[in-house]
């Protein structure tokens, strides 16, 4: 992930692998130091860890629940629970993966208990996305139903996502929305990479079928 960000920052030009690795090692070491300080009771260190990961965790939970309030509550609970269990964090995985797993498990349990959720927060696409070339192309040129507007497409996509089971929705969120690699998703979901791939394929198939009126696919 860091390497991808670094590539974009340099305009896509290739950077030496050693530099990227060194940057990554530095980031890992800094995070490790923060975790150790937090484990010894330093809440300011934990505050910094929360700030680092809050948006990504929140974003994933939002896409799972389709509700900002629920996502907010669940994200806070995940960080609080992570702090309580911080002493058991051994460093086998990154802190981000570890917290992600806590957040995801909590959210899946929440969704299983939730019977019905009426309102979805739909009108959250910001200005940048509304004018994103991909979205403009999707809406105006390539959809069979050309009159489909942005909000309708967003609504249909959210509805389609909610029809998926929690594991399938999660894998699509983590991979296609958040951009996480398969192996990291496997660690978060506590399954193997093959399971991640098969769930991802099935989920995409289902979504494609439901959105066939709006988008074209090659399957």
């Amino acid at each position: 992930m860091l390497q991808a960000l670094t590539l974009r920052a340099f305009g896509g030009a290739a950077i030496p692998k050693t530099v990227a690795t060194e940057q990554e090692n530095t980031a890992v070491a800094e995070e490790r130091a923060l975790v150790q300080r937090a484990q010894s009771g330093d809440t300011s260190a934990y505050d910094e860890l929360v700030r680092k990961h809050q948006e990504r965790i929140y974003s994933t939970l939002y896409h799972m629940t389709a509700n900002h309030e629920d996502a907010n509550d669940l994200a806070q609970e995940a960080f609080i629970k992570a702090y309580a269990a911080l002493k058991s964090f051994k460093g086998d995985s990154s802190f981000f993966t570890w917290v992600y797993r806590i957040a995801v498990n909590r959210t899946i349990n929440f969704l299983k208990q939730r019977k019905h959720r009426a309102a979805m927060s739909l009108n959250d696409l910001d200005f940048n996305a509304e004018n994103h070339p991909d979205l403009v192309a999707l809406v105006s040129d390539r959809t069979p139903r050309r009159e489909a507007g942005l909000s309708e497409l967003q609504e249909k996509l959210n509805e389609a996502l909610q029809t998926l089971s929690e594991p399938h929705r999660l894998v699509v969120t983590l991979h296609d929305v958040q951009g996480l690699p398969h192996d990291e998703i496997a660690k978060i979901m506590d399954c193997n990479v093959g399971t991640v791939r098969s769930r991802l394929f099935y989920a995409r198939q289902q979504l494609q079928a439901q959105l066939s009126d709006y988008i074209k696919g090659n399957r």
Partner: protein, 177 residues
């Protein structure tokens, strides 16, 4: 037929899903997020700073099982204490109220205390209800008492055997068995 590589599958759908990253809460939403998390963490750890009695009461409020356990323990102590109080005295206490003529007999039977000898009769003061009288309570060891003092007919017999006191001797005895 060669399978389509994964990165080429569902291209339109992937683009649409990737755009969901832009679905974001209002600006400034995360400004106070971390401080709220830290505040909740510190609030949860605050109970340790409360006085011991507040924590004790909170234990009762929040954990009925703990309160029940406390009640059982306290009740158990009460029962045991009452049982001990009711069973006392645990020794055989004999309160003698003897006419003057019988006293030399007892005095003669009680040997002079000797460091080497086992006492056959231990005389201990037995407090009486406050009526101005006093009595001597005796702890009797049937094994070492002089022959004839204990009679098989139950004069001062084994516990549980009905006592027959000779005329002139009034015994009051209590056992804890």
């Amino acid at each position: 037929m060669t399978p389509t590589p994964e990165h080429e599958e569902f291209p339109e759908l992937k683009k649409l899903l990737a755009l969901k990253r832009h679905e974001a809460p209002p600006p400034g939403y995360f400004q106070n997020f971390s401080s709220k998390v830290i505040a909740r963490i510190e609030a949860q750890s605050a109970p340790a700073a409360r006085p011991w009695w507040a924590r004790w009461l909170a234990e009762f409020d929040l954990r009925p099982a703990v309160a029940s356990a406390y009640a059982l323990v306290v009740g158990g102590f009460l029962v045991v204490g009452l049982g001990v109080a009711l069973d006392r005295p645990s020794e055989v206490a004999v309160e003698l109220q003897m006419p003057p003529v019988a006293q030399p007999l007892l005095a003669a039977q009680a040997p002079a205390p000797s460091p080497a000898a086992q006492p056959q009769l231990t005389l201990q003061p037995v407090p009486l209800p406050d009526n101005g009288s006093s009595a001597v309570g005796a702890v009797l060891n049937p094994d070492t008492a002089p022959s004839g003092f204990f009679r098989n007919d139950g004069f001062i017999g084994a516990p549980g055997v009905q006592d027959k006191s000779p005329a002139g001797l009034n015994f009051r005895r209590s056992f804890s068995e």
